[in-house]
């Protein structure tokens, strides 16, 4: 099953696609600045620049650097990582429902977090991140190995099915713990809704190199992903080794989505919708899809976070909920209007 999406055949030429990418990048920069200015105490653009460049320890500068900057960075990092890894997943599996969550990444991270909290009575900061990342990575590697071993002939389908199985298994385990342990439920319920509030600069900066590495590797892989998205047979016919490149792609997904989920919780919906929207806009060439996804995903998460904070005047409002509230109707509209009826 390929991913028959938009009616548009080609990205419409490099200059146009490049222009659109530049436009999206400008929008992203603007919303990042907006995110730094917004809050219960509005801070002017000049003060924000001062805080970033000439930090003087005043109350407002502290507010920007310790509260709003980490939050904005977390949103940008998580958004771009999830969107790119979602695009890779859909290319690799050829299933339009594929998202990083399908590798068991969300379920693995959630289970690891819940297990660590139940056993140790609480965790926060960087150890918490490592627990989530380790859980996500372990689950994803298991899913990949199972998919590869158990279904050598039709590996994409095997991956999808074993992912569903492992994710269900871990989710059941998590809810079994939560049903009996009220204090852990209380501690993780905000995280499971997906939230970027209360992140520290150390957490955001600590994750950045991993996500940066993952993104650059993904961009290098663009051409091979396009070939992979045609399906294993076509890839082989074109002289590509689908097994090798599929493995490489999955490793990148683990790196990207694992870090993102550790940072912002399971806001996997970004990884599902952004690639679809991008494909509807610019076509099937992954050399363009991936950068568009990176910018678009970051834009979606930052904008959703700004909107949730300003409209609801609640700084703790989980961004995962806002994303779904904005993203889902848009996604439905696109699917309704742009999808060819002969799919």
């Amino acid at each position: 099953m390929s991913v028959p999406m938009s009616g548009k055949p080609a990205p419409g030429g490099r200059p146009r696609a490049g222009l659109m990418l530049g436009l999206l990048g400008a929008l992203l920069a603007a919303s990042c600045l907006l995110s730094l200015c917004l809050g219960p105490r509005g801070i002017g653009l000049g003060t924000v620049f001062d805080a970033l460049l000439r930090f003087d320890g005043s109350r407002e500068h502290l507010l920007v650097v310790t509260l709003r900057l980490p939050r904005m960075l977390a949103a940008v990092l998580a958004g771009s990582a999830l969107a790119v890894s979602g695009a890779i997943m859909q290319a690799v599996t050829g299933n339009p429902l594929a998202s990083p969550g399908l590798l068991g990444i969300n379920a693995g991270a959630a289970f690891a977090v819940v297990a660590v909290m139940t056993l140790t009575g609480g965790a926060s900061g960087v150890p918490f991140l490592w627990a989530a990342f380790a859980g996500a990575g372990a689950a994803a590697v298991t899913v990949y190995l199972l998919g590869a071993v158990f279904s050598s002939v039709h590996a994409a389908l095997g991956l999808v099915l074993s992912g569903a199985a492992i994710a269900t298994f871990l989710t059941s385990l998590t809810s079994a713990v939560l049903i009996f342990d009220q204090s852990t439920l209380d501690a993780v319920r905000l995280w499971t809704a997906g939230s970027v509030s209360g992140r520290t600069l150390a957490e955001a900066v600590g994750t950045a190199p991993y996500i940066g590495l993952g993104l650059s590797l993904a961009f290098l892989l663009g051409r091979h992903l396009t070939v992979l998205s045609f399906g294993a047979d076509a890839a082989r016919a074109l002289g590509q080794s689908p097994v090798f490149w599929r493995g490489a792609a999955i490793l990148i997904v683990i790196l990207l989505a694992g870090s993102a989920v550790a940072l912002a919780g399971p806001i996997g919906f970004v990884g599902l919708i952004v690639p679809h929207i991008v494909r509807m806009l610019i076509g099937v060439d992954y050399r363009w899809i991936l950068p568009f996804c990176a910018v678009g995903g970051a834009l979606l998460v930052v904008a959703a976070d700004c909107l949730g904070r300003s409209l609801l005047a609640n700084q703790g409002f989980p961004v995962g909920v806002t994303i779904a509230l904005i993203g889902a109707p848009f996604f439905i509209w696109l699917a309704h209007n742009r999808l060819r009826s002969t799919a």
Partner: protein
């Protein structure tokens, strides 16, 4: 496990399944005999699970007493009778019915969506029911049972209707239904997690137990109602099994074979919603059965839906009954909801199925 269309194409190409094509089902007496034996075996397994569920538990009842009770004997202690007839029997029956319903609904949705992952939840049924139940539990704290069930059922119905209507654009298409289902499920998921993140902690925990799916709150009245609700749609599905075979081949093929694809798809979605919505309303979200049972049934009975449907129903009944039994026994006196057990045990089993596929037995 694959959609028939893909399997058909692969068979022509001779790459995916190297084994010889199965003889056309229903073409021989031996084949019919094999199917009867299969059904009989599953029915016996279900009966054994029934007996075990009635006898085992916090207060074990001896097999002899159980036999006497079911035979109408009078030399049984009233306590044991109360435990078996009033507590365990409704629960076992309800579990089996829910399992059948989920399996039939899953078979329908996998066939019409042509996606091996399309359990009824894709139609928004689970999400709708979850929001309905969650709102009632978190807002009212201690809602009456009938209100909880009604809100679950109508939530499921409303979401399924929304998915169908939104994907209507001079006709529907499987992929559009799936994508819009995903979009709406994300919306309902957001509402659910918002309620979970902000609601009263004890209420949220109760809602989580409901979401995990269990049949602990059973009564004979519930069983009767569910049964009378399910009979008609289930019979209709079985009568239209042939249409499922056709539509699973793809819109183009089905149309050229003379099927009114849109009408069939609409009817099938309605049946799927009515069946699984009712199951979800009484038991919560017992996951994985709607996915696992159809896949097992396809492995056992071949690709014809007239045979998949009854086998899937039996398999689903066995799965939920066994899961509930295990959930009651494992860490007694605490009870693990059946939905958690199906998730924990169903997943490795599903992987085992994949393993079997690799060795060309399916």
């Amino acid at each position: 496990m694959t959609q028939p269309s893909a399997r058909q194409a692969a068979r022509k190409a001779g790459t995916l399944f190297r084994k010889k094509p199965r003889p056309r089902p229903g073409s021989g007496a031996a084949d019919r005999l094999r199917f009867s034996i299969l059904c009989l075996t599953l029915a016996l397994l279900l009966a054994a699970l029934f007996a075990a569920s009635l006898a085992l538990g916090d207060v074990p009842v001896s097999w002899r007493a159980l036999a006497a009770m079911l035979g109408g004997g009078s030399d049984v202690s009233p306590d044991a009778r109360m435990i078996v007839v009033d507590l365990r029997l409704p629960r076992v029956l309800l579990g089996a019915l829910v399992g059948m319903a989920l399996a039939i609904a899953g078979t329908i949705s996998i066939a019409i969506m042509r996606n091996p992952l399309a359990e009824p939840g894709v139609l928004g049924i689970n999400g709708g029911a979850a929001v309905g139940a969650m709102v009632v539990i978190v807002v009212l704290r201690d809602p009456p049972v009938f209100l909880l069930q009604a809100s679950g059922f109508f939530g499921a119905l409303a979401l399924a209707a929304a998915v169908y209507l939104l994907s209507w654009r001079g006709g529907t298409a499987s992929l559009r239904i799936v994508l819009i289902g995903v979009g709406l499920s994300a919306l309902t998921g957001a509402v659910t997690s918002l309620l979970a993140a902000t609601g009263d902690l004890a209420a949220v925990q109760r809602a989580m137990i409901w979401l995990a799916g269990s049949v602990y709150d059973a009564s004979l009245l519930k069983v009767e109602r569910l049964l009378s609700w399910l009979i008609l749609p289930a019979a209709l599905t079985l009568a239209l099994a042939r249409e499922l075979d056709l539509i699973a081949f793809g819109d183009g093929t089905a149309k050229s074979l003379g099927q009114p694809v849109e009408r069939v798809r609409a009817l099938m979605i309605l049946l799927c919603t009515v069946i699984s919505g009712a199951a979800v309303a009484v038991s919560g979200l017992i996951g994985f059965v709607g996915l696992l049972a159809p896949h097992i049934a396809r492995r056992l009975a071949g690709p014809v839906h007239l045979r998949i449907l009854p086998v899937a129903a039996l398999v689903g009944a066995c799965l939920v009954t066994a899961a509930d039994l295990l959930g009651r026994l494992v860490i007694a006196p605490a009870q693990v909801p059946a939905g958690i057990v199906t998730g924990l045990l169903g997943a490795p089993f599903f992987i085992y199925l994949l393993w079997g596929r690799r060795h060309g037995r399916g």
